[in-house]
C-alpha cells in the first residue's frame, strides 16, 4: 500500500490521461499505479505522464539503452516500483535481464560488450546523482564524440526526469504489482 492512496481508475475521466495510462500499460512503464497517484494533482498528471512515456519510448537514442539507464537510476534511487517495471518494447527488441544487470553493474567491463557510446551514456546516468561534479566539460567533450548534442539533451533530460520520479515513488513506498 502506498503512503498516498491511488485514485480508482474509473474515477479518472480525463481522456488524455486515460490515453496516456493505456500507452504506459502497453509499454509496461509505468503500470497504472503511478498515473493513479499523480492523478490526485490533475493539472500535473497529464504533463508528467506524457513526459514519462514519451521520454522513454520516443526520441533518437536506442530504447533498450534508455531502459537499462532507467532501471540503473531506479535501483540507485532504491525505488522498488520503477526498478521492478520492464518495458515490453525493449524486451521485444531483445533486451534481457542479464543485459540489464550487466548495464547496471558491469558496463565498464569490456567483456560485457557495451560500445564506447553506450558506456558513456551509462556512465552519464551513473554519475549524475552519484557525483555530478564528475560530469564536467571534459565529460561532455567525451559524450560529444559519441552522441549529437540533441541526443545528449535527450539523455540528460531523460536521466533527470526518471530519477526524480523514482525518488518520488520511493518516498511513497510504492511497489510494483506482481
Amino acid at each position: 500500500m502506498t503512503r498516498i492512496a491511488p485514485m480508482p481508475l474509473d474515477a479518472i475521466t480525463d481522456p488524455e490521461l486515460r490515453m496516456l495510462i493505456a500507452e504506459g500499460e502497453a509499454l509496461g512503464v509505468p503500470d497504472d499505479l503511478f498515473p493513479r497517484i499523480v492523478a490526485r494533482a490533475p493539472e500535473q498528471a497529464v504533463p508528467l505522464m506524457r513526459a514519462l512515456v514519451m521520454s522513454h519510448a520516443q526520441g533518437h537514442v536506442d530504447h533498450k539503452l534508455k531502459e537499462i539507464m532507467r532501471i540503473l537510476l531506479a535501483r540507485f534511487a532504491n525505488d522498488n516500483y520503477f526498478a521492478s517495471l520492464r518495458s515490453g518494447k525493449a524486451r521485444a527488441m531483445g533486451l534481457t535481464e542479464t543485459r540489464i544487470d550487466d548495464g547496471c553493474f558491469a558496463y565498464e567491463d569490456d567483456g560485457k560488450g557495451f560500445s564506447a557510446a553506450e558506456k558513456c551514456a551509462l556512465r552519464y546516468a551513473d554519475l549524475m546523482f552519484l557525483d555530478a561534479n564528475q560530469i564536467d566539460e571534459a565529460f561532455y567533450n567525451e559524450m560529444k564524440r559519441h552522441w549529437s548534442e540533441a541526443q545528449i539533451m535527450e539523455l540528460g533530460a531523460f536521466v533527470a526526469f526518471h530519477y526524480g520520479m523514482a525518488m518520488f515513488m520511493r518516498s511513497l513506498g510504492a511497489k510494483a504489482a506482481g
Partner: protein, 80 residues
C-alpha cells in the same frame, strides 16, 4: 527527499498530513522529484541566467561572474 530520503517515512507523512491534503502532498512530491532531477542535470550544463539582477541582457561569462560558478545551495557550507 534529496539529502536523506530514508527520513521521508510514514511518520513524516503523518506530519505532512497535519498541514496538507493527500492531493497537495502528491503535487509537492512530484514537484520536488522533478526539481531534484532537473536541477542536478542543469548544474552539469553550467548555464546561467540571461539577465543581470538589474535587468540587463548579459553574456554567459558575465552571468557566471555575477551569479557565481556554482549554485549557492550546492556549496557544502550551506548544505550543512
Amino acid at each position: 527527499m534529496s539529502v536523506n530520503p530514508d527520513a521521508v517515512d510514514a511518520a513524516f507523512f503523518d506530519e505532512l498530513r497535519k498541514h496538507y491534503s493527500d492531493d497537495e502532498i502528491v503535487e509537492l512530491g512530484a514537484f520536488i522529484g522533478f526539481n531534484l532531477g532537473y536541477h542536478t542535470f542543469f548544474g552539469t550544463l553550467k548555464f546561467y541566467p540571461l539577465f543581470s539582477p538589474d535587468g540587463r541582457l548579459v553574456s554567459q561569462a558575465e552571468a557566471e561572474r555575477l551569479y557565481g560558478a556554482a549554485p549557492t545551495s550546492l556549496k557544502p557550507e550551506v548544505a550543512e
